[in-house]
Subunit: 260 residues, 2 copies
Amino acid sequence: MSQGANEPLILITNDDGIQAGGIRALAQAMIPFGRVVVVAPDRAQSGMGHAVTINGILKMEPVHFEVDGVAAAWQTTGTPVDCVKLAIYEILGKKPDLLLSGINHGSNASINVIYSGTMSAAVEGAVEGIPSIGFSLLNHATDADFSACVPYVKQLSEQVLKRSLPEGICLNVNFPNLKATEIKGMKVCRQSAGYWEDAFDKRTSPGGSPYFWMTGKFTNPDQGQDTDEWALRNGFVSVVPTQFDLTAHHAISTLNQWDL
Amino acid sequence: MSQGANEPLILITNDDGIQAGGIRALAQAMIPFGRVVVVAPDRAQSGMGHAVTINGILKMEPVHFEVDGVAAAWQTTGTPVDCVKLAIYEILGKKPDLLLSGINHGSNASINVIYSGTMSAAVEGAVEGIPSIGFSLLNHATDADFSACVPYVKQLSEQVLKRSLPEGICLNVNFPNLKATEIKGMKVCRQSAGYWEDAFDKRTSPGGSPYFWMTGKFTNPDQGQDTDEWALRNGFVSVVPTQFDLTAHHAISTLNQWDL
């Protein structure tokens, strides 16, 4: 990789917070590829989806980041999407050549993509016209081992730096929780039609008032062998091209037959 | 409309908070259609996207709601998507026949759909298999007049109760800020390829530390006459079928040509 004025500018963010192991692994992997800048939330922001801070203020500050070779690291009080906007318009002053988000501690396959702050940061990158990838490992543990992800992170990043991505699209990449030798390769997939069977754990505060913890069980009735869930269950890294045009184009003709 | 055991159960939520004028107008409009239950955030939650509360607790309580005929109203400490989940699994104990979100104070057309708590509540309804519609008026004012929206809210709700919606789809409905007599009708559209040119207003706290307010300007280079932005600019109510399958299906074959 070239080191100098022409080296790629690589922005790294996440939703587990700047202290998380996954973002360290991701930054470390990208050092040989260009100038790496980390801008991430100052605390865990999981499940924040595409939230932006419009009714409150944002703060940010440079911080020490424990990966040799990182050009700069900033933590912000904002959401992952806030981090992308602050990075472009206040910290970098320009759009990076590549935006990587993650590596998330836990799956963002199937319907999880819409709740995920990690993926929303990548989607925001795509809105900004930046080649963007969100990475997630199917292991929630704080001390999860990301080493098996690294070769795929590098291979995909190299391809995206070389080829860019189709307009309006980022990549949602999920890793099975397997050893490097057990992973069978990458598979381009569609988002599986899974969903969460929600439930709430109702408790009572010391003062006597009820409160709730959201729980639930992921369910995937979609048996397609072209889905991210199938790929992950069968030992592949899933790669889903993901877009922010939410129009259900195929339904337009149906609705045009209604009496509107 | 039937009043009794067979009357439709209609869940109403929003992201401007249960005190907002838009949700009162929406609930009022739906009283003749069935049993109306309101479950909404206890404060403004604009820009929350598809955020869910997974790292904290949720509270909720029944409240008085100033619309005659509303069967029940609850406010929660959660996001709009949290409200939908709490409503189904803790308050109603079943899925409603129709979920309406809004009427939002401000546009959720074009790219705004991905930032919008109002639309994320409707999308969550679609994930749950509930016919769902999000409504928004192109007027941010607290005292905005929603009366011109009401006939369209009723007409669309009637159609959706009668026909349901294609699987995996909700409707994103935006109203131009016009008098009833100036609105030309409804138009089924696609989401326009607009975006926000972000900016930050940097200020200094009394203690001397910098902080930021997110600002920005909506820009729409998409000149298509089949877009929501075109419809709204030309006096129509825009109706965009909106899906939660974010897969860019058309990009799968491109990615399959990569060296992965």
